[in-house]
Every structure is written in C-alpha cells, then in structure tokens.
C-alpha cells in the first residue's frame, strides 16, 4: 500500500497536467459552492441588518402609536376651511398602561406638527416633545453638548436637542459650534444644547428616525401647545388634538412581553372601540417572524445547493469514468509494477476528492468575489461565516468521495493483461 502523501502528490501532479480539463470538470462544484457562499453571505447580511434595525427599536419595548384613522371619524368641521381632528392615544391611556403589570416605564413622544423651514424651503424635520428617558430608550447617543436635565422637564424653557440630520440640514457643513446657537421653528426660538445621533436605524411608525427630530422636553411641549397642534394648511387652519404620538412601553420581564402586548391591545380595543386610531409593534415578534422566514429561506437555499452539487458530482463521475478508460494503460502498467488494487482505487478516489475539494476552494473564492461585487454595486451588506466555508469545503470533499468511488472501483477492477495491451 502506498503512503497517503504519495497518493495526494500523485493526484495533484496529474491534475496539474490537465489544468483546463480539471477546472472544467469541477465547474459544477465551483459554481455550486460559489452560489451557496454568495447567497448565504447575502442572506446573512440582510438578516443582520434587519435584525439590528429591529433590535434598535428595542427588544424589551412595545411601541404603541397613534394612527390617523382612514376616515377622519373624530373630525369635526368648524366653519369653512378649519378642521379639528381628535384621535390617538390619550393621557388616560398612558396612565392606565403605566399601571399594568410588567410595565416598567413609558416614554412618550408628541409631534408638535410645526413646519421647519430653511428660507422658503420646508424641511422634512419634526419638532417633537420627548421624555427624559428618550435618549436611552431610543438607543441614541449624544455626539455633542448635553441632554436635558430633570429640572428642564419641570420648568418649560427654550432649549432643544437636535438629531444629526437636523444639524446637517439647518447648519452649514463647516459649522462646528452649533451648541448655543439658536434655531427658529415658526415663531419659536430654541437654543441648541445637544446633538444626538442614532446609528441603529431606529425608525418609529409615523414619526421616523430620531436623527430627524428637534427634541424639546415634554413639559415645554405641553406648556407651549397644550392639547393642540395647530398647523396652517393652504387656505385655513388645521387643528389636530392628540395627546401622544408614540408610547415606548418598556417591559420589566422580557419573557412576558407577549402577554403584556396582548393586554395593552385588549385595553385599547375597548377604549378606542369606535375607530382604530392606534396600533402597536412588538419588535421581538418581528424578530421571531424574521427568523422563521430566514429559516425557510435557508432550507430552500440548501436544497438548491444540494441539487447543484449532485449535478456537479454526476458530471465529475462521468469525467472520471472516461479518465479511467483513457488511462487504462497507466493502470495496467502500475499493476504490473506492483500496485495493489487498493492502490489504484485510492489513487483515483483521492484524485476525485482533490478535484472536488479544490473546486470547493475556488467556489468559495468565487462566492466571496460575487458578494463583494454585490456589496460594492448594489449596496447590500454581506457577511461571510466561517462555518459556511468550512461546511462547503467538507461537503465538496464528500461529493468527491461519493461520486469518485464508482470510477475508482472500476479502475481497480481493470484486468492488467487486457489494459496493458491497450493503446
């Protein structure tokens, strides 16, 4: 019996001799593994970014928000062009929810519905009254200045914290000293005391990202606007009466979040029986749904990969059978020189395994290349996992063993007398 190192060296030498043929032979495995690696890294990347977005909303939170009813049921026409709308989550709702079991605290957000202008241009920014805990509960970070003090929640003032997009849109690029400068929102003049940034992609229903908010303490908001949010539409004044746009309900125990969400929904269904002017999102549920979808996707992907590897393997088996026929004189010579049947068997088997494994290596490189290109041109994040590469390599070797055994056995069974005479 020959040494394994000798067999491997021999098969490498033989494959090197037929470079083009070897590459063509393992094309099936190369593309099979390549597409698996590419698709896995794309789906893993998509999964990660979706997960981080969901997580940024807060895994331990239930987001309850006011939703403008499809038909303005609560709207009362007062005169020709003025309109009063009343809908959404109320002070009473908040008090009740705060008393529920498992609710640790509630952070509120209210949009003042003011137009933020820069010259004549209306910007897509929002003036929002927020609670003290908004900063940690929205997973945002202060990048400049400071957050409000508890005292500023007791006494209305004229200070604000702006999101990073607000800074970008209202100030010039070079402006570093935004802290202490004043901004104007309609008739209001506010002093900027801090800049926050949210790089998790947090996005609240109806309100959007904290990066687009000019935040003022909820107390200031109440003092200035009371229950009313006036907005001048073309030709008249629109009055929206809304207590809260978003309630971030933080739960004490994550495992009971489902129950808590159900109880919140039950309560709101009763109190807002007429029109459904609210809704809620449980990020954890989204996360679980996302994971379930991901698992189905992975199963489908693996089946496709499996089929392509089988097809590749059959191709390799065909070529190896042809190769056995083509090299029958070599087989006969080797047998005459003292090779055992098992030597011939292993020579051909290892040759196939080396072929498929190097096909696997090339496939991994191809897959990584494809996902790099996709990341570059389609701006989709991709994530490679070591386990997927290791598994691909292992599976491609296995394909070699499975589809190489029959040709190798054929090679070993050749009668040396007949094959020696072959030309």
């Amino acid at each position: 019996m020959m040494l394994v190192s000798d067999i491997i060296e021999l098969s490498l030498q033989n494959l090197r001799l037929h470079k083009t043929r070897s590459i063509l032979t393992s094309l099936g495995v190369i593309f099979g593994v390549g597409s698996v690696i590419a698709m896995l890294s794309i789906s893993e990347g998509a999964k990660r970014s979706a997960l981080s977005q969901i997580e940024a909303m807060g895994i331990d939170k239930i987001i309850v928000y006011s939703k403008k009813p499809p038909v303005a049921g609560g709207a009362v026409s007062t005169g020709r062009t003025s309109l009063v709308e009343r809908y959404g989550l109320t002070l009473r709702d908040r008090k009740h929810l705060a008393d529920l079991d498992n609710v640790e605290r509630i952070t509120t957000l209210r949009d003042a519905r003011k137009r933020v202008m820069k010259g004549q241009e209306r910007l897509d920014l929002k003036l929002v009254g927020a609670d003290l805990n908004f900063l940690p509960d929205s997973a945002s970070m202060l990048v400049q200045g400071r957050w409000f003090t508890p005292w500023e929640f007791k006494r209305p003032g004229n200070v604000c914290v702006i999101g990073s997009n607000v800074k970008r849109k209202l100030f010039r690029l070079g402006d570093q000293e935004v802290i202490g400068s004043n901004i104007r929102v309609e008739t209001l003049v506010l002093k900027v005391i801090g800049v926050l940034e949210n790089d998790n992609g947090t996005n609240y229903p109806e309100l959007g990202s904290p990066n687009d908010m000019i935040l003022i303490p909820s107390a200031t908001s109440e003092a200035l606007f009371g229950d009313y949010a006036y907005s001048t539409e073309s030709g008249g004044v629109k009055v929206t009466m809304i207590d809260y746009d978003v309630l971030l309900v933080k739960v004490a125990e994550l495992e009971h979040i489902g129950n808590t969400a159900k109880r919140i929904a039950n309560y709101l269904e009763k109190t807002h029986a007429k029109v459904k002017d609210w809704d809620l999102v449980v990020p954890l549920d989204l996360l679980k749904q996302r994971e379930a979808t991901q698992n189905i996707f992975t199963i489908v992907m693996s089946s496709i990969a499996g089929i392509s590897l089988i097809v590749g393997g059959i191709g390799i088996m065909n070529i190896m059978l042809a190769s056995v026929f083509e090299r029958r004189k070599e087989i006969g010579t080797r047998r005459a020189l003292g090779a055992q049947k098992s030597d011939i068997l292993f020579q051909f088997l290892i040759e196939t395994v080396v072929l498929t494994t190097s096909g696997g290596v090339l496939g991994i490189l191809l897959g990584v290349g494809i996902s790099q290109v996709i990341t570059m041109y389609a701006d989709m994040p991709t994530v490679y996992s070591w386990w997927s590469m290791a598994a691909s390599l292992l599976i491609s070797s296995l394909v070699g063993v499975i589809f190489g055994t029959y040709p190798a056995w054929q090679a070993a069974q050749q009668n040396p007398i007949t094959v020696l005479r072959a030309e």
Binding site: M2, T333, R335, A336, L337, G338, Q340, I417
Partner: protein, 239 residues
C-alpha cells in the same frame, strides 16, 4: 545452436516452471494455449524466449510476470510457489521480484524521469530520501544521470527505454522480464538497448528473461527457449 549454459549451483535457481498449461475458455470452446511447459532459469542467465505470433509467447510472458495464473502446473519463483497466490500477494511479488520492461516503454508522461524510476519503490514503501538516492544511482547506471528532471516526452525512444530499464531495477528484482524491448526502436538504438541489457547481465549478474519474436539478438542469450504452438520446440532448450 545454443551456447553452453551458465549453470551455477542449486540454490542459484531463480525460477522453475513444471508442466505449465494454460487453457482459455471462450464460451463452450476450450482453447489450449500452453500445453505443458517446463524449464528452469538460474541466477545470472540471459534467457531469450522466442516464438512467432500465436505460439503462446504472450501467455508465457503473462504467466512469468504473474499477471496471469496458469491452468495447471507449478511456477516456483525463488522457492515460493506463486501460481496459486492471492491477488494481493501476487502484486507484492511483481513489485519486489520482477522488473518489467515493456515494448512501448510505458512511462508516465506527467512524472519526471526521477519520479518514473521511483514508482515501483513507492509501492514498496521505500522512504522518500532513499528513493531519490536510488533513482539517481539507477539513472547513472543507464547513462541518464543528467536528465532526472526531464519528462519522458522530452526524451528519445532509446532514452525512454533506458529509463524503463532503470525503473525495472529499482526494487532489486530477482529477474528482469523484457517484452520486445527493442520493438519500438530503430536498429541502432535497439542494439544500444541490447548492449545495456548485456552489460547489466555480465557486469551485475542480472538475470534477464527477454520475450521476443526477433531472432537477431540470439547471440546475446545464454539460453534460448523456443515456443511453437504452445510447446517447447525440440532442441530449443539446452537442458
């Protein structure tokens, strides 16, 4: 007609055939190819097995080379009854006791000359370093010490056959079994190869069995075995 035989003492017997028969069964018809052949070959003899095509020469070669088993009779190689051995053991004996030289060289084009010479040693599990040393030594013996790194397709026919001879010697076999070794070579190169065999035989006391239809080299042989129609031709054996 045959030269006086070199006949050393009894334990220098390399191989002996006793009443060897070979019958091929093609369907219902039994075709006898070898019909009872007996002869001995001693160490250091240069033996020519001659015969026209159809004489049973190839079958004789296959049996001597242990690629085929006889239907009847005994084949003893260095005291071992080899006719009835299992496939595994036959391969081992081919590897260690028989040095094959083929008509069309049968070198591997994807290996270097050095690696070609090493092939039988690989199957004999000779360590890598020893294989290298031995390959170099053998290449020098056949006059190709300077071409170890080349590949067979860079060599002439005569040089290829020299490599094949070096390869056949690698495991220090009991005898060389050459099958028409000059059949694919022109006359001049053929003579050179014959000279190489002659030198190996005379200077290194290598036992050589050459199967050929070419009667031209008869003067080289110590002993000539003539086959005709599956039998030894009368007077063909100096025994």
């Amino acid at each position: 007609m045959s030269q006086p035989e070199v006949r050393p003492c009894g334990d220098d017997l390399v191989l002996s055939l006793r009443n060897i028969t070979k019958t091929y069964n093609t369907g219902e018809l039994a075709v006898p190819v070898l019909k009872g052949i007996s002869f001995d070959i001693y160490r250091g003899q240069f033996v020519g097995i001659l015969g026209t095509s159809g004489s049973g020469k190839s079958t004789m070669l296959n049996i001597l080379g242990m690629l085929d088993v006889p239907t009847g009779g005994d084949y003893t190689l260095e005291g071992i009854q080899v006719g009835s051995l299992a496939d595994r053991d036959q391969a081992t004996i081919r590897n260690q006791k028989i040095g094959f030289v083929f008509q069309s060289f049968n070198l591997f084009n994807y290996l270097t000359i050095e690696q070609n010479i090493e092939v039988p040693m690989i199957y004999n599990r000779v360590p890598r370093r020893k294989r290298r040393e031995r390959a170099l030594e053998l290449a020098k013996i056949v006059g190709l010490g300077h071409r170890l790194g080349h590949r067979p397709n860079q060599l002439s026919g005569g040089e290829c056959q020299r490599v094949a001879v070096a390869r056949s010697l690698s495991n220090e076999p009991a005898f060389l079994l050459a099958d028409e070794p000059t059949g694919n070579l022109d006359e001049k190169t053929g003579n050179e190869i014959m000279k190489l065999f002659h030198t190996l035989n005379r200077e290194r006391r290598m036992t050589i069995v050459m199967v050929t239809h070419n009667p031209m080299f008869e003067p080289h042989y110590d002993k000539v075995i003539r086959l005709r129609d599956g039998r030894l031709e009368a007077g063909g054996l100096g025994q």
